[in-house]
């Protein structure tokens, strides 16, 4: 167990993970709607408060898993309850806990039916998401990874928009179909280990045979690529995003998509390094395709949520690009960009939700020219849009810049092909911003539209803070990941021979 730093004393990480679940259980007995709103806010705030000390106590000089807990769970199969955080998962956990209270705030008025059930779903989601990032045992990981589908399905199917049935079923089917092969791969890995074990860290760097790695990698890839979603597996995403309620969209964009890229970092790279190197060129080009495709499609959207959803495809393309260039800048940029995308896109979805609450439309044309009536709102929107197009000074700039630096040092052509994506981002974001703030000559009548209330400002302000904090001083956030990333790269580079012939031809 030398890869774990076992936590002595109170099991804070477990408390963090299961607190929301306990809160959900108590929620069952709260029938008053307002009371359940306050209760959920309270639970998520406490969870967020508990999560903050993890950042301070995290030791950035080691690549081991910290705050770890290890208990036998199903001894006959050597399945253990093992959890822990390293430089990759720490920031994702923090982002999740900090976003959840904002999701509750965003649903305060938006959700008016079956409030209690909605809040229960949110809380169960939080437990599952935190668990996925902290799990170090494959069975635990897979159980939470799949269990999450149920509350997320309900969030879309019950509280969603007009095409919620279609969107929710598509979401469920896609994700489930992707992950059944993941299960087979997990069992195959387990049986290959001597002694049989589901421990994720133990599986890393085992030097499996090349053929075995290929199959395992493909199974992993299918599951994670659907979750990210990478082009061409993205078709569930716009549907789900558009139909989900605001909080659902935020969770989907900010956290669920990150699980795919997290999966690449946590499993594909260290467990199947040779296969990673073999498949790298294909994935790089798929990323580029995603960046360009997402950008162009976003440019053509008239529905704001769809626009942001497609922009997510593009942004996540940058993240996978960063991961699979397999160098320090690329991966660190990718991890940072995961966080950035969570903050920025989450904030943009919140903004769209706020408009929707007022005008009951997500069409760009019906929101045209509201800048005059909602100055506070458009101020926030402007900053988040700039962040989304990676304007210097905002968080996304740092991430995207690092990714491109990483890409240019290794694969110049690939990187050059991704550059138009950044230009496209500016085009579609500025187009949206221009339309919403000023509009044209035939703006719809917006008199009587109220600007943001205190609750909404409080919802957006923390995100704006992080946009600039990470944008101007990323070092504290980068600091926690350095050791983990270099350790990860060592594991991959051990297997990094020359790319295969086909690969060489694809990467000029």
């Amino acid at each position: 167990m030398d890869f774990l730093i076992i936590n002595e004393g109170l099991p804070w990480l477990s408390i963090l993970i299961f607190l929301p679940l306990a809160g959900a259980f108590i929620q069952i007995f709260i029938s008053n709607e307002n009371a359940s709103r306050y209760w959920t806010l309270f639970v998520t705030l406490v969870t967020a408060a508990i999560s903050l000390p993890f950042f301070n106590k995290f030791d950035p000089t080691t690549a081991q898993f910290q705050f770890a807990e290890h208990h036998a769970w199903i001894p006959s199969l050597n399945i253990n309850y093992t959890i822990g955080l390293d430089g990759i998962s720490l920031l994702l956990v923090l982002m999740t806990t900090l976003l959840m209270p904002l999701c509750v705030l965003a649903s305060w008025r938006y959700i008016s039916t079956r409030v209690r059930e909605f809040m229960i779903c949110l809380l169960i989601m939080e437990t599952a998401m935190l668990g996925v990032f902290a799990a170090l045992d494959f069975v635990l990981f897979y159980m939470l990874w799949e269990a999450m589908l149920i509350p997320m399905y309900l969030l879309i199917a019950v509280w969603g928009g007009p095409r919620k049935i279609y969107a929710s079923i598509k979401f469920f089917l896609y994700t489930l179909a992707g992950s059944v092969m993941l299960l087979v791969a997990i069992i195959a890995l387990y049986l290959t280990m001597e002694p049989h074990s589901f421990s994720i860290p133990e599986m890393m760097g085992q030097g499996y045979s090349a053929g075995f790695q290929m199959w395992v990698f493909l199974a992993f890839f299918l599951a994670f690529a659907i979750k990210v979603p990478m082009f061409p597996f993205h078709t569930w995403l716009p549907a789900a995003h558009v139909e989900a309620p605001t909080a659902g969209s935020v969770i989907l964009a900010s956290v669920l998509l990150k699980m795919g890229t997290y999966g690449f970092l946590r499993f594909c790279l260290p467990i199947t390094p040779e296969a990673t190197v073999t498949f790298m060129p294909y994935i790089l080009w798929l990323s580029v395709a995603g960046i360009l495709y997402g950008g162009f499609t976003a440019l053509a959207q008239s529905d704001m949520k769809k626009l942001i959803a497609y922009s997510s495809v593009g942004h996540m393309g940058f993240v996978t690009l960063g991961i699979f260039v397999l160098n320090t800048n690329g991966i660190e940029g990718a991890i940072l960009q995961m966080i950035n995308h969570g903050i920025t896109t989450g904030a943009l979805f919140l903004c769209v939700g706020m408009i929707y609450e007022r005008t009951h439309s997500r069409e760009l044309s019906s929101a045209a020219g509201i800048g005059k009536y909602m100055p506070w709102y458009v101020t926030f929107l402007a900053f988040f849009s700039l962040s989304s197009l990676a304007f210097p000074g905002t968080n996304s700039f740092v991430g995207e810049f690092l990714i491109l630096v990483g890409a240019f040092t290794k694969f110049k052509v690939v990187a050059a092909c991704a550059i138009p994506g950044a230009v496209l981002a500016a085009a579609y974001m500025l187009r949206m911003l221009q339309k919403i703030v000023w509009g044209g000559e035939n703006n719809p009548d917006h008199t009587g539209l109220k600007d943001l209330c205190w609750r909404e400002i409080i919802t957006l302000a923390p995100l704006l803070l992080f946009v600039f904090w990470i944008g101007l001083s990323p070092e504290p956030f980068m600091n926690v990941m350095h050791t983990t990333v270099s350790n990860l790269l060592e594991q991959v580079n051990g297997a990094m021979g020359e790319p295969a012939t086909v690969a060489r031809m694809m990467l000029p």
């Binding site: 769970w73 199903i74 001894p75 006959s76 199969l77 079956r114 069975v139 897979y142 159980m143 939470l144 799949e146 269990a147 589908l149 149920i150 399905y153 309900l154 199917a157 019950v158 919620k164 049935i165 929710s168 079923i169 469920f172 089917l173 489930l176 179909a177 059944v180 092969m181 299960l183 087979v184 069992i187 195959a188 387990y190 049986l191």
Partner: protein
């Protein structure tokens, strides 16, 4: 204390006699129900008390060990749950209700005896006792619309059943002819010597066919959809869950006679299992009647559980026991909802579940848990069971079967999901809200708790199953 060995069976038998007395009078449905419920609950308690009994009875044809007691407990539990949650027996006409309970208990008695039988003839008699009672339960449904569908499906059920019974007897005659004994304990060593002989393999497979029929495994599944649809909701709840548990017990007993090495039997069973999964799941996709859909889903699940048998090892058997235990519970959860949604004992279509979350929140949540559990989504028992089966089968190298089974999971989610969808998102329109009694509520909460607990902390049940399998491997 010989009495303790036989106490659960004796209790049910006495119960049957009392209900028989009651059935002689007129209009005693209520009394019979109360009696049956009392006996069923008592039976669970007595079975629990006798759980660690060990011994043999009746010239050693009747073995009481952890294996048999575990299965008896499951059967007793299933029987009690069915009787408790179907409290009004809506689909059965008033004048045959006492007889209905009589045959229900008799069937359960037969199943309880089946799991203890270690001699072929005893096994056969016990199995037929339960089968014939079931054949009678099916046509007892009140005729709705004068179509006599219940008669039609009962005829199908009995005809298929009798043919398969014939095949099974034929197979038993082979086993007897080859070894000169009908005691499983004596059969085993002799059969292991000649296990590679085609005659032995054919004999064992023919006997297995009889149990495959009970389980609804492809290609012995033809009765399943029709009987599920034609029988009353309560009968289906019983047929769909409890006899399958006993069928798995018998499968394991017979499978332990086999030597898998160098034999094509595992592949043969594997192909049947995969065919079952595809057949069941694909046809379930297009069903509108919930019971019929669950029938096809049952065929698919029979395929899954056979993945445990085809391993022909202790681990595989205990995985199968774990899975069938889980299946019993999740199936009961779904049928609890069906029985209670149906207002006058009619069949429930998927659309009838519209707005269930408003009409009866408890039932809606039970349905959600039951359906997702059947679909194999964690944290429910369906996932844990499937996971065990898949890892067991993969550890013996059946990669193709495992991949096909995994694909089936993805296919099946669609129809389970569409039921949940209707219950949670469709509006109730003019459908009335449903009164759920306290007992039904308790049963449904208990089922949900079992489904979740077995899914999250399966160790205890798994170890129990492993112990149970060990006992029969030693005695045999």
């Amino acid at each position: 204390m010989k009495l303790m060995l036989f106490a659960p069976e004796l209790l049910v038998l006495i119960g049957c006699l009392i209900i028989f007395m009651v059935s002689l009078g007129k209009g005693n449905g209520r009394t019979a129900r109360n009696l049956a419920a009392t006996i069923a609950v008592l039976n669970v308690i007595v079975t629990l008390l006798c759980f660690f009994q060990d011994g043999a009875l009746f010239y050693k044809v009747y073995q009481i060990d952890l294996f048999s007691q575990l299965f008896k407990l499951l059967i007793a539990f299933g029987l009690a749950a069915v009787i408790l949650f179907s409290k009004e027996l809506k689909g059965i006409s008033e004048d045959v209700r006492p007889e209905y309970y009589l045959f229900l208990l008799l069937s359960a008695l037969g199943l309880m005896m089946v799991v203890s039988s270690v001699e072929l003839l005893t096994l056969f008699i016990a199995l037929e006792l339960s089968s014939f009672s079931l054949y009678l339960l099916v046509p007892m449904r009140e005729d709705s619309g004068g179509l006599r569908t219940q008669m039609e499906c009962a005829a199908k059920y009995i005809l298929f059943g009798v043919v398969v019974t014939g095949i099974m007897l034929f197979g038993m005659s082979y086993l007897f002819g080859l070894t000169g004994t009908t005691y499983l304990g004596a059969l085993l060593p002799k059969l292991h010597l000649i296990a590679s002989q085609p005659v032995a393999v054919v004999g064992i497979l023919m006997v297995m066919a009889g149990f495959a029929f009970k389980l609804g495994l492809f290609p012995f599944h033809f009765w399943v959809p029709d009987v599920y649809q034609g029988a009353s909701n309560e009968t289906t709840a019983f047929v769909a869950s409890v006899p399958k548990v006993a069928a798995i017990a018998l499968m394991i007993r017979i499978a332990s006679l086999m030597v898998p090495e160098g034999s094509s039997v595992p592949v043969f069973i594997g192909v049947m299992a995969i065919a079952s999964m595809f057949y069941g799941n694909l046809l379930a996709l297009v069903q509108t009647d919930v019971k019929r859909m669950l029938g096809f889903s049952g065929i698919a699940h029979a395929g899954y559980v056979m993945l445990g048998i085809l391993v022909f090892r202790e681990t595989g058997y205990s995985n199968a026991i774990f899975y069938i235990t889980g299946y019993l519970v999740m199936n009961l959860a779904c049928f609890l909802v069906i029985c209670n949604v149906s207002t006058a004992g009619e069949n429930v279509t998927i659309n009838d579940l519209s707005g269930l979350h408003k009409r009866a929140p408890v039932l809606a949540v039970t349905l959600l848990v039951g359906m997702f559990a059947l679909a194999g989504i964690p944290p429910f028992v369906g996932f844990m069971g499937k996971f065990m089966l898949l890892s067991g089968a993969l550890s013996q190298g059946y990669l193709v079967f495992v991949i096909l089974a995994a694909i089936n999971t993805a296919i099946s989610i669609y129809y389970y999901l569409s039921v949940v969808r209707v219950a949670f998102t469709a509006s109730a329109e003019k459908r009335n809200s449903i009164e759920v009694g306290l007992i039904t509520k308790t049963v449904s909460v208990a089922l949900m708790v079992i489904i979740i607990v077995m899914g999250v902390v399966p160790s205890t049940v798994l170890e129990m199953a492993a112990q149970a399998v060990k006992t029969i491997m030693i005695t045999s």
